[in-house]
């Protein structure tokens, strides 16, 4: 199911982004070229497993890309927003602002 198809008829909000942690993750990624797992975890104030779960949902929706490098202690996981993700985030954010302006 594409991001557009997922868009909820109710309020026009995207169900994938209604979870506050996922929305915050998308907001952060929309203003960066790429962001590390640790930076996202600290900003969102979540555990490793929770962040992995949220980012997997965003990856499955085609909203983020994941890049892994290295192994063991020196390994790193970085996330970046996709074009579809940027579009979905902007639509969701604009809709949210419009609802609150009413």
């Amino acid at each position: 199911m594409s991001g557009t198809e997922q868009t909820s008829a109710l309020h026009g909000l995207d169900p994938t982004l209604t979870a506050p942690k996922r929305l915050a993750a998308m907001a952060l990624l929309s203003r960066s070229n790429s962001t590390d797992f640790a930076f996202l975890r600290e900003h969102l104030g979540v555990s490793d497993s929770d962040l992995s779960k949220q980012m997997s949902a965003l990856e499955a929706a085609g909203y983020v890309k994941v890049a892994k490098s290295g192994r063991g202690r020196g390994s790193s996981t970085t996330f970046s927003i996709t074009k579809a993700g940027r579009r979905a985030y902007q639509v969701h954010r604009d809709t949210l602002a419009a609802i609150l302006a009413d």
């Binding site: 506050p20 952060l28 960066s32 070229n33 930076f39 954010r93 609802i99 609150l100």
Partner: protein
């Protein structure tokens, strides 16, 4: 019920606004060696224009550009993110001021190189870049603190 829903949506939007600013305003302290290193790098780049042999000059310029790219890769890892897109309004002044300062320094160096020597231009660049970067770092930190205060208080 509707009020509760609106409150939740409002909180989500506030959290999103704070998160949008995070790559710009949440960053580790800049290393103390940074201003002097950048000044040395800029002076070396200026000096490279004094090299008469074109192939040698190109090698030196590419080496310096490679060094800069290496620094950017390291800094992205150190910071954990690389900000992009719309700059928070508080940061606009230091951000664009820094761009203007860079252009002014490049223009000044060009003028000195033409009217005096490339050596003099390199010394000018080294001397001017350090206070320029120190001003930028302090000004940016103050603006980032104002942005954090605005978004955390909202």
């Amino acid at each position: 019920m509707e009020n509760t829903e609106h409150t939740q949506l409002r909180e989500s939007l506030r959290a999103a606004e704070r998160a949008e600013a995070a790559p710009w305003i949440d960053y580790p302290p800049t290393p103390a060696w940074y201003p002097v290193s950048v000044a040395l790098w800029a002076a070396a780049l200026t000096m490279s224009f004094a090299i008469e042999s074109t192939p040698v000059r190109l090698v030196v310029v590419f080496a310096l550009v490679g060094l800069e790219l290496g620094f950017i890769v390291w800094y992205r890892r150190y910071r954990g993110t690389m900000p992009a897109g719309k700059v928070p309004p508080e940061l606009a002044r230091p951000f664009y001021g820094f761009m203007a300062a860079n252009l002014a320094i490049a223009g000044g160096a060009l003028l000195i190189a033409r009217t005096s020597t490339v050596w003099a231009a390199a010394i000018f660049v080294f001397v001017v870049v350090i206070p320029s970067l120190v001003w930028y770092e302090r000004s940016y930190a103050r603006a980032a603190a104002r942005t954090r205060a605005r978004l955390d208080a909202a």
